[in-house]
Symmetry: C2
Subunit: 247 residues, 2 copies
Amino acid sequence: MNRIACIISYDGTNFSGYQVQPNKRTVQLEIEQALKRVHKGQEVSVTASGRTDAGVHAKGQVIHFDSPFRIPAAQWPKALNACLPDDIRVLSARYAEKDFHARYHTTGKEYRYRVLNAEDPDVFRRHHSAHVSYALDIDKMRQAAAYLIGTHDFSAFCAANTSVIDKVRTLYAVDINVHEDELHFILRGNGFLYNMVRIIVGTLLEVGYGKRTAQSVDTALRTCKRDDAGKTAPPQGLYLWSVQYND
Amino acid sequence: MNRIACIISYDGTNFSGYQVQPNKRTVQLEIEQALKRVHKGQEVSVTASGRTDAGVHAKGQVIHFDSPFRIPAAQWPKALNACLPDDIRVLSARYAEKDFHARYHTTGKEYRYRVLNAEDPDVFRRHHSAHVSYALDIDKMRQAAAYLIGTHDFSAFCAANTSVIDKVRTLYAVDINVHEDELHFILRGNGFLYNMVRIIVGTLLEVGYGKRTAQSVDTALRTCKRDDAGKTAPPQGLYLWSVQYND
């Protein structure tokens, strides 16, 4: 068997998230069905770097699977894209080491979050950004973001219903870039807890429109209480941008 | 009765076009249903500057309707948007002269057409641009576009199944702008025939990848034969951008 690693992109709008669920349209199911077609009816299971929730997008999700076929690596995207719906694309593929694991071997991830900051919503961006009509104080938001950089217990920035015990993670960057009427949040870290990016963005937006101080972010990091952080920002602004591995 | 003119925007992806058709989801039907709710069950009919086809978008479509209500003009978008689905937005409203007519009084229109010119398609732009993977010679396309400027019989650039007799129109501009991996076609004219923008763009793209010469556009304008122009570009790249009136 050969282990193949692929970088894939998907528009999360019409999916009930990445992971297979009964009677739901999921990214994993579509990929497994495409692989089954390519393998003439044989089941092939897929492992991703991590799940994404309903409505969340991926520019550079990484998956792996095993196949008896050894076609040129560049043929894998063509073969799979021919069987996939148009909201999932395989961007590239490579033959990986036999023990490569898309989830266990990640060394870091980058997420981006896109906010349309304008008085009115935009019909063309409604599924691909969050809309915030308030004026935002970007400097204050950047001050607040600075507290998050480094190694912290991110318990306050994690959905309450999680089973993960160790909530210490390291963030390398929390950048906020302004592009015309949009804010782009760029977060890079060695790992992310459930809903962590969306809670961080939701909290920074609350700093931006004056509902909380920049320093309240530091407080939340110290108390580790979910209630001390802000609301979870909506899914449609979030993109899993890239996944890093050591090789 | 008061005549109200509105500028509206819609994402054409999930509509069977602008105009009401039996058992189809159309922009006109959604707006008339919203107006009916605002008018407590009373039917209100809507007139637009023109139709758009299935999948075609509008940034600045203009509509008019009549109402017994005389609320401040700025309240109309709020009242209607509260009743509209999120792929249609009323951007602004004003009280017009009683004889204002959104279709008959247009003096010009601007359409834009967005092409993603990249090897691979992009899941996030698949409904909002056409994808062209070939390399395009922009200079040749601009040469070809220059022939179209001015007053011509555009019969070759009109869908065959049209009932319009006078096919002479004036184009003021056919600009092609490059934005990163996209081409934006901007067409301004005093009026447009059925499918005219999509046939012009389809023809210019054929010039761009060398299927035809720039001069072939001049030939098509002279012969007036549909077969002498190129294929109709797909709907999802097209935007009705703005509509002009004399007042």
